[in-house]
Symmetry: C7
Subunit: 94 residues, 7 copies
């Protein structure tokens, strides 16, 4: 298992199939392009300046949209994942 | 449904028709150009350094003016939206 | 009505007539050039890190001097306005 | 009257005569060159992150030394002034 | 012994053998590439702005993934180590 | 008298004679070169974000080492001084 | 004596002999190269935003590893030293 630190999450990127289901496709523009993924693991949250730890707003299983160039790719037991910070998650698809 | 995170909102961009109604058009200058949109969804707000969550100043249905180059485009069930941070919203048209 | 968010204000720029009245004209130098305007609307203020909202130091009707390259131009019902942050307002002309 | 906002002051720049009186002249070096001025108006002070407003350390009538490239020039009723932030004031000449 | 300061850790980099065991290999992309390592020593934690010291989320013996270009290499008693800040640790492999 | 503001000090630069006495000379390297000086005046200290004013760690008469390119030169009653921020003071020579 | 200010320390750089004893040598890579030194003097610590002063984590006599390009060189009574900030100290060699 890959347990992300702080406000990071581990994502399984959804390249094609989910976009068909949810109907989210990216228009052809010069704007920052988002990507979709499913959250596999979440960190324990960020520690604020007052010492308080803030839990993440997302949970395992959430389908999310994140900034395309965010995150770090890892491969674990034959499956590729992406580790991204919660601040690079734009929205949850419900 | 696309539920934005933190201080972000989901906007339906108003290209032409609303500008005619509200009378807002952009002068031809080199200054930063705003755009108009209607808020479709709002996030749960930003968490301050003291752990307090601050609700957004805008709500679903608000017509807003936002910085032109702000935000990330997404397409959901055939409709294009923009996800922008509240700090890129300049004003509400009332 | 255009209601600015946070610490922003909506300004009607005063190009020529007020400068004659108040006697404020800009010397011909390479320094940052200010501009004058009248405040039409004010935001509800900025939220501090402790969650407290701070009302603006300016009010509707104030004649102000602001940094020339600050703000975003909008046109509303045939009138041009500028939306600027309070931190770009240098002074109030009384 | 020009009332500066926040931690700003309005200064009447002292080009030549005061330098002779106080004996302050600038050596011919590549270092940042200061200038002298007299404070005409002071702002109500900066608001800290805890909401507290801090009064300025300078007052009307103070002769000050400030960073040469700081501030914004304005002309009011035939007299040129400079609006500078208190953080660009280096010292008071007593 | 090398005792790191603050939020730093001392890592023994795992170049090849662990990747085989855990099955983590890096795909061939232009994204930021992570590396794996085992934590040998941890610092006493970072001091927050309120004076509170926050212990690290990782402990000696943890297998971690960290940003490839992070850290400083040292050689101690014939063994090479890397000193990295906890904020450059992406995840713990469990 | 030149009274510096905030965390600034007024320094009389010690070019040659003190270096001989204290034995501090600069090696011929590409690193940042320090300079020595004697403190003539100190400011009332910096105001923290909680509104508390912190007195300086140096006092009038201290011989100090400061970063070479720090500060602003002024000449007052025939004597050259330097106004530097306390954060550019590296050490006190005792 | 050279008494460093704030979170700075005075270091005697250990060029060759200590590396042999402790066995720390630098591999030939493009990564940031550390250096070793012995702490001769420590500052009284950094003042936090709440006014609290935080003592340093290192003490006189500590053998430390620090970032190679950190610090300012001084020569005092025939001996060369380096003044570095504690945040540029990576670890203590025990």
């Amino acid at each position: 298992m890959i347990k992300p630190l702080g406000d990071r999450v581990v994502i399984k990127v959804l390249e094609g199939e989910m976009k068909t289901k949810s109907g989210i496709v990216l228009p052809d523009t010069a704007k920052e392009k988002p990507q979709e993924g499913e959250i596999i693991e979440v960190g324990t949250g960020k520690v604020l300046d007052n010492g308080q730890r803030v839990a993440l707003d997302v949970k395992v299983g959430d389908k999310i949209i994140f900034s395309k160039y965010a995150g770090t790719e890892v491969k674990y037991e034959g499956q590729e994942y992406l580790i991204v910070s919660e601040r690079d998650i734009l929205a949850v698809v419900q």
